[in-house]
Amino acid sequence: MNRFNLFKNDVLQQGFVVMHYLSKLNCLVALLFIVLMVPTLSWSKEALPLAEDPEVEARMLKLTENLRCLVCQNETIAGSRADFSNDIRREIRIQIKANKSDQEILDFMVERYGDFVLYDPPVKATTLFLWFGPLALFVVGVGTLIIYLRRRRIQIEEVSLSAAQRKQAEALLDGNKGNKV
């Protein structure tokens, strides 16, 4: 037991100690096991890309980056791992392989899921407020500010002092100085 405790933290040493106590047969089995492991270790390699055609994949990703996942809203179909997005990505791959144009694919999506599926909604009657609302608010805000500032300038009158008033003011200011210091 002491020997075990001595090498407690040294896994390698412990391994040798254990090996020492194993029967010859067990040793063989262990060796065999290690030998069999070697090929799987050395032959493992980088994961293959999922798509067989990188060009199709690139186009699909570019398209789906502008499409909304309807299940996990505020995620793109490119970035979402929802089942829904998987299906749409598969569908778009099929359509790309069928030589559909980008516009045709986007139209296909809008026909089924509405403009909401686009992160870049088209300008039309129902989206005018969305597109130009912020600009309108900005114009109204700036206009209001300009009018307000102009009116204020008119309200502030230039007041000129008479000689007597000026003297009085200077006297007051001097007096103040004296008091403070």
Binding site: V71, D87, E111, R112
Partner: protein
Amino acid sequence: MMRYLLPLAAFMVLAVFLLVGLTLNPRQVPSPLIDKPAPAFQLQQLHEPEKVMASEENLGKVWLLNVWASWCVACRDEHPLLVQLANSGIVPVYGLNYKDERDVALQWLRKFGDPYAISIVDPDGRVGIDYGVYGVPETYVIDKKGIIRHKQIGPVTVDSLEQTIIPLVIELQRQT
């Protein structure tokens, strides 16, 4: 007076916008398919895989298409209502078994009841995409000419049946 009224009016407008926003559900994406022809399909039947059902077979009658799956928990909520509706004979309900496994789906129907006139299967969800399905269960009301008149996203409820779906079905059945 104006200097107080104007900000107040602006605030009121904002408040109304926000209030309306609170009552909207972002999950209810209005379907662009309403008042458009229901996408045609030819699908294998669930009970008899050797048989195929085509959507044109239902032309001339008002019908419901209910998209469901055994893995869909909300489908269990609406299921008793669909069974009731089917038993009432008001309108035939067709089931689209969406991205499911046949055995499990059949077992599910045996367990919870089978309201469907015919069940069809869409194993990889491609017909689902045509119908703009994104959250099962979904239910479509389709009229005699094969036009989609209404889409219920999420489970049907007593309210949605009594206030929307059934009145609409009865109205559509009167049309020729």
